[in-house]
Symmetry: C2
Subunit: 498 residues, 2 copies
């Protein structure tokens, strides 16, 4: 079988596409001190209990028609600006959760406002195309100047989707079709009569019992295929039928990293060995390994570049695809445009999925053989949303204009330093601080996490958790040093209050 991706594989029009690299390295190092939003509040303001009376009334009204039990805060988006989120009662909170890590360039970003009011956007909104059949004459241009301008190195093709779950699932579908094509002996080999008949009964060989290998504590979405690779919490999975797919242990590193170098390396080797064993022995053959650069919902679990290089090596050796889920880590927050840029892989991942801060979704790939061998195998009516693709292009422009990847790197280092000092002072409240050199993608464990997250609002901070005991920071890319100072000060007050 041919290797999945080799140096020398034809990269279509790579020369014409500026790579994502330029977004992080050629952008000039702009000071991250000057506020990006001159009209932002200079500090949070909280005028009473949260939720206040207007929020409570509005929540009751919404509850009549929409499940609000996961409601965090009804939001006044007209009053929200930059890093500050406003509620209905006039409170303005510094938002380091950012719509579950999905707001990249600030509320009411002026450049996005321009994008949203162009005739091009109007047309995308009111003349929504079936992109696989009737794309607009502008679609290639929108992709090349937008989605693909941010493409990871070596991946110059895209299949567009709607959100993280279907981005991941369509990537899985591509992996299964590719795997079976290799088994058959190439794209020209026709399906057998038995395959054609059996698949209509959801049975093999047409509907084969293949699998995707994912990791314990992983989160890859909540539709049926993606949920079968999600292992974050039972509440995400209970009562929903799942595929019999394997899970490997994700490294459980000990912190601080510099004090546990050998132990952590051994842990990663153990996990890699488990991956290889599962690929070789699991009863439902593995078509792809799916992994997050940082397990984000599962508790902000990190692993070293060596671990991910190990995954790349194993998947090459065993001829399975290597898919990186950058839904939460992608688009600049880690101090690189893509988190997997930190790894210096010997060859690119076979597919990289994206959503959240991209405000649209899909998967990148480079190997042309990952296009299924016939049309309509990977297809649906909308295949994404050009309106949202225009927004992503606007985001990329802002990232470049303001040097935001550089900003998350600089601000992240600064913030991490401040958290280290807090951890020295309050070691019981800041355990396993992690995310060093990962931009603002920082987390730590704390025994009273849920109380801390709830209490934070009264101090003017909107913050989130992940896993069982982690506080996760997911500020926007426009989070700057002066925001970090406020956050550090408030965190100290909050932990003294819980």
């Amino acid at each position: 079988m041919a290797s999945v991706f080799r140096a020398g594989t034809r990269l279509r029009s790579a020369a014409r596409l500026p790579a994502a690299r330029s977004l992080s390295t050629t952008a000039s190092l702009r000071a991250s001190e000057k506020p990006y939003f001159p009209n932002e509040p200079t500090a949070p303001s909280v005028s009473g209990a949260i939720p206040g009376p207007k929020n409570q009334a509005a929540a009751a009204e919404l509850d009549e028609v929409f499940d609000v039990r996961s409601l965090n805060m009804l939001t006044d988006y007209n009053q929200s600006v930059g890093n500050y989120i406003a509620d209905l009662d006039g409170n303005k909170l510094l938002d380091v959760y950012a719509q579950i890590a999905s707001i990249p360039v600030g509320y009411n970003n002026p450049h996005l406002k321009e994008v949203a009011t162009t005739p091009e956007m109007t047309s995308a909104l009111i003349n929504r195309p079936a992109l696989g059949n009737f794309p607009s004459s502008e679609w290639a241009h929108i992709l090349k100047t937008g989605v693909l301008r941010a493409a990871p190195k070596g991946l110059d093709q895209v299949f567009t989707a709607m959100a993280g779950s279907d981005a991941n699932e369509t990537a899985y579908k591509a992996a299964f079709m590719y795997y079976r094509q290799m088994q058959r002996g190439g794209p020209e080999v026709e399906f057998t009569e038995e395959e054609l008949l059996s698949t209509m009964n959801n049975a093999g060989p047409g509907s084969p019992q293949l699998s995707i290998l994912s990791f314990k504590s992983a989160f890859h979405g909540r539709l049926f295929g993606s949920l079968s690779t999600t292992r974050s919490k039972a509440i995400h999975k209970l009562d929903i039928p799942a595929f019999d797919w394997p899970q490997a242990t994700f490294p459980q590193l000990k912190y601080p990293l510099e004090d546990h170098v050998q132990e952590n390396a051994a842990e990663e080797q153990r996990c890699l060995a488990e991956v290889e064993q599962l690929i070789k022995e699991f009863h439902n053959p593995v078509a792809a390994v799916m992994v997050e650069p940082i397990q984000s919902e599962g508790g902000d679990n990190h692993a070293s570049p060596a671990f991910f290089q190990g995954l790349r090596d194993i998947t090459k050796r065993t001829n399975v695809l290597f898919i990186v889920d950058e839904v939460q880590t992608g688009v600049g927050a880690t101090g690189k445009f893509w988190a997997h840029d930190h790894w210096n892989l010997s060859s690119p991942p076979d597919m990289v999925t994206f959503s959240k801060k991209a405000q649209t979704a899909g998967y990148y790939y480079g190997n042309p053989a990952l296009r299924p061998n016939k049309p309509y195998r990977q297809f649906n009516t909308w295949m994404g949303d050009p309106a949202r693709a225009l927004i992503f292009r606007g985001i990329i422009n802002e990232v470049e204009r303001l040097g935001l990847v550089e900003n998350t790197r600089i601000t992240g280092d600064y913030l991490y330093g401040g958290l280290e000092r807090l951890a020295e002072k309050y070691p019981q409240h800041f355990q396993n601080l992690r995310g060093k050199n990962q931009g603002t993608f920082i987390a730590w464990d704390t025994p009273k996490r849920d109380q801390l997250v709830a209490k934070a609002k009264s101090f003017g901070i909107n913050i989130g958790g992940s896993g069982a005991s982690a506080v996760r920071l997911r500020p926007m890319l426009v989070f700057q040093k002066h925001h970090a100072n406020i956050l550090l000060e408030k965190l100290e007050q909050i932990i003294q209050a819980v």
Copy 2:
């Protein structure tokens, strides 16, 4: 076990929500002769071979980064208006395919243009909320004046989604959670330790082997759960793992209906008996029956109201949920706002899914017990897109302002009459004409279908097929008698040419 939905089940705020009925019955009977789009072409114009040189060049450029093998036509949306779609070479075709049945109120609809340029839209585009956590203060109002204003009778709640596939899959998830809750004995019964542990391994009892029953030739989407209920064509399913879920035979009616009354009734009874048997005997217990009012991708297969009432009766009797997939049939095309309005069911479906012409997606339900018993069980980051919900509201306004449901009924009857005359004249080209009294949702079988569909472009008609041999008409809701006249005239020319 409690029945899934009974008359008397509390309908929250039903009094406050105008029902979808008003959209079809109280709208005054406006003449459907006066053109809705004064600036529409009066006839198609084709100036050369399609695809022309500009289209071919643009397709080659797009192919560098995006799979174009399913490309039908690169579209100039700026030059498209009303029912006419324009390509890059200046051709303007009467569009009775309408982006796979997903454009409701015409290209460049002036009212939607207004909606798209409001400050509310701008905010929805640039401040995209995680709707389950941080909905805007306007969200309840947007739902009540939009999505829920069109809610099917008896269903006053909504879970919003992105597209048809995830709308269907989230409905399946709701069904599975509801089914297990009934088995457990109610919403208060806690999960067992065994459930909590086993689901993390994708195994029962936490991840139970339950099923959704769907029909042969059905199409419900292409993600892993929805694809397991899709039985349209092998090419949609090959190589993708599927759940072991049951399929029943969908009635294969004989036409003209009036000549096969007893035979068709017997066929429907046979299919109903099969459904009941599968529910009672299939090895993976059935949590819900999923059905399209008209099987749209699978060849435009119809069944009678009695058949669907039979499904409602069986599902009541066997305590499984009855879900109606209105992704393609919904929003006015059948001469009712929802196709299932034709059935006069004794009680509403438990859930109704929507997408396509709604330009957003989700599922409606009425029984409050279909809200899962705990928060975060039915959840994802975006849970839809408020920008697209605003567009749906604009569509509903247009449907009401222009009386478009009435229009599809009147124009559909007129068009059907014309097709009957063509079928008399060319019986070999118009077999099994179907869709009488179903608005413009009309189809027929023809032996040279693929040639006809391809050839139609040169006659200025953009038209689609479904199943193996059907031509399906999916004009927009703004398709009027003068368009029908052009279509009928061109169809006669086309069949003479193939």
